[in-house]
Symmetry: C2
Subunit: 470 residues, 2 copies
């Protein structure tokens, strides 16, 4: 996969890399290269020439400088849970794993901020701040294993994003290493910032193509004291989608508003184990709706309002989770859908997003396009954000159709997203797999600007080459 | 002021400009040039060679193209309420006033979004969305006259930012004209976006140096139904600053948390007229604290908690505003401080911002630095955000000291901000007046990256030249 204009790693640079990080933190054995050549995106494997695990920012700086000088591809990896191939070393070279940057450096309860290293696992961070009565809301489905640095690189969302925003909304400042080895802070540890071009926001979502994040300053908020969870079944998936918008129009902002199609539910339950309630035959879709806050009475009132709204949209009997156990069971069904689909068939996952009220049009359009091209899709996702994960299932499709016809169908889905005011990725990023579809969203002039910005930061084009655009 | 490398407007290009916008929308008479040569920054006047008021995006595109081709400076202006000289045409050329882009194009109640032109006045927009039960929170002190486009260009804040964020947090998508005349949308109308480099966030706060905004898609939220306002006096300004952090640590996020020093209060009352309560001699600072929400009982509880906290920080007797009239009177005092200071003396306003809990250290530092350099300062601002507006008063200082010594003092204030984790502008922007201090915040490598990004968008360097950096 390495293009001619990149250099191969020579024994000299391997030795130099080894000098930087020490023998224990570098490897080029086949097993390691294979392990670090995958993420959670379909079944891709791309081998780097070396896997390196720095432990200090100075080491990262030295590695970046060396790779720039020798024009060697340098791909940064968080925990490898990405869904767009962002961490795959598709041009070979150096795979830089940030897993040893795993310290929560400071939780500042005076300013409601925390400074962390990028390799910290999302869930661990959440639990640590919770102990101090604080809350870090972004919670991707992979929160148990994904890294905060990876979350920043993709502006990851999760169920709570509908009320609390995505990772972007919590990043105040970043320490980053430029490809030259220079170390800068992107901004300041402040809630307001109007001091020249905002590099913090440029870095968020840039998928490791502009610099290497070595520290993150997050904003935290007070932890809501209570939450209520309800499961709302519908016999018609479009009704469920319509109910989503109606809840917000009634003045309620739930802390989660998740949508699952029938197949998603069945597959997830089959994969994740039994549930202690009956999934009726006639249900075609579920909404999982959570409200949170500090006052139980108000939350109950919110739930009543929501109940009225969903009933107007022909829901079946609503289930309220009456224990933490039941809440966890319901969340497990939702969180495991992705893995369940993956275990079931070859598939492609699209991360479509539209303005919330266009969700019914998106869902219908996806099904129509599926009928046209002969593919089945399993849809679920963050309906409150208009963010629908469309899992296209290979099933009985021939390799020929899968390779040649499917991209046309995906193109049509993305064109529909754009027409509805949406875009081709809400929280997974472009990485490698969505790259061919960027022209659906952007004019050539727009893409050229992106490429030139890439060159400003990374003139040798060594950082995560081949991602977002060619 | 025009450097040799820019061209003067020739009669040919004036005629061409006239053809684009029509005779009624172009002028080069002295009165117009003077009027559009000022904003609210100190007493600066810089004359453009022509003032032009386009009415369509196609006109803006044609103007941009013409200026690029002829290498003529092009400075975009909103309503001219800026405090950093961002809209001043310091290199001459074309002054592009967006005042005729004044339409609210669509308020989308299904998706809680609105599409507006950039010349719409902030307050008018707020009132229009309110009629539909919706809320657009950013409310700079100049809300009655500032434009939404200018707000985007500086990521303006205002009192509500402490709970609801700044303009940045409400911009979903922008239509912008590039200097080449190309028209692009920066993103999508979605709450989540992970689709390549985020141009929406790059444009916000870029002060008209990268492109010309012609449409804005804003996120809206449901309008809170109630608010309560309390005025908390302190006999010691540092106590007031300390109380600010303590309120947040008690788990309350007020919808406003404003700080005023004694002088700011006196000057504002003198300027804005009498108030219907007594300002006691011993008061050295006031906090204006607002809470909002949908439930009166909870707001009362919040106020009780706040009262307990501020009493622990030695406040004097708390005043609750008991009518809309009194609320407006209190807000008027706060909103008029800036104008009051301006009417009183030659001054310079610094827009310092630090993490909230560092506010006492910032206030003390500002006073110490003032003592060292012999200047008096009047401080007030958005204390809940750690955003302190420091008005340095010329008073009896000699021109010599004002010109040569004061910049050293300002430099020290900004160095202090940086040391405390803050920055040199929270919401006013860099524009012309803070430009010399950028090296306090940024390394040369960092500034070079900004300049190169400028060149990616604007290779002829015609857009608002001489702002943010040289």
């Amino acid at each position: 996969m390495i293009k001619n204009n990149y250099n191969k790693l020579t024994s000299i640079t391997y030795t130099e890399l080894e000098k930087i990080v020490g023998t224990d933190n570098i490897s080029n054995n086949a097993e390691q290269l294979e392990k670090y050549g995958q993420d959670e995106t379909e079944d891709f494997i791309f081998l780097a020439e070396v896997v390196i695990k720095p432990t200090t920012v100075e080491q990262v700086s030295a590695i970046a400088k060396l790779c720039t000088e020798n024009k060697i591809p340098l791909t940064t990896r968080g925990a490898g849970t990405g869904l767009s191939g962002g961490a795959l070393p598709i041009k070979g070279g150096v795979l830089l794993s940030m897993e040893k940057f795993n310290k929560i450096l400071h939780i500042d309860t005076r300013n409601l901020q925390a400074t962390v290293e990028p390799g910290v696992i999302n869930y661990i961070f959440q639990e640590e701040v919770k102990k101090l009565g604080l809350f870090y809301p972004p919670d991707p489905a992979s929160w148990g294993s994904c890294s905060l640095g990876g979350n920043v690189a993709h502006s990851s969302g999760g169920p709570k994003a509908v009320k609390y925003g995505t990772t972007r909304d919590y990043v105040l400042n970043l320490e980053m290493v430029l490809p030259t080895g220079e170390i800068i802070w992107t901004g300041a540890n402040t809630l307001k910032y109007s001091t020249g071009y905002n590099f913090t926001h440029l870095m968020v979502g840039s998928e490791g193509t502009l610099g290497i994040i070595t520290k993150i300053v997050f904003k935290l908020i007070p932890l809501p004291k209570q939450d209520l969870l309800m499961l709302v079944p519908f016999t018609n998936a479009e009704d469920a989608c319509k109910a989503v918008g109606a809840v917000f129009m009634a003045g309620i902002t739930p802390s989660a508003m998740e949508f699952m199609e029938r197949d998603a539910i069945d597959w997830s339950i089959k994969y994740a184990g039994e549930v202690n309630f009956t999934i009726k035959e006639k249900w075609q879709a579920l909404l999982l709706i959570e409200v949170d806050g500090n006052d139980a009475e108000i939350l109950m009132k919110d739930c009543e309002t929501i109940s009225e709204v969903v009933q107007q949209h022909n829901c079946d009997e609503i289930l309220f989770a009456d224990s933490n156990e039941q809440k966890n069971a319901l969340w497990k069904i939702r969180r495991k859908v992705g893995e369940a689909v993956k275990s079931n068939s070859v598939y492609k996952e699209e991360d479509t997003v539209v303005p919330r009220a266009e969700l019914p049009a998106l869902l219908n359009g996806v099904k129509e396009i599926g009928n046209k091209y002969g593919f089945k899709s399993v849809c679920y996702g963050h309906a409150g954000d208009g963010n629908l994960h469309v899992n296209i299932i290979k099933g009985e499709l021939s390799d020929e159709v899968w390779e040649n016809e499917l991209p046309k169908g995906i193109n049509e889905i993305f064109e529909l997203c754009k027409r509805l005011g949406g875009t081709i990725s809400g929280e997974h990023g472009i990485g490698m797999v969505q790259k061919p579809y960027m022209p659906v969203m952007f004019s050539n002039a727009h893409l050229q600007l992106m490429k030139q910005i890439k060159l400003v930061f990374d003139p040798s084009y060594i950082l995560n080459p081949g991602k977002i655009f060619d």
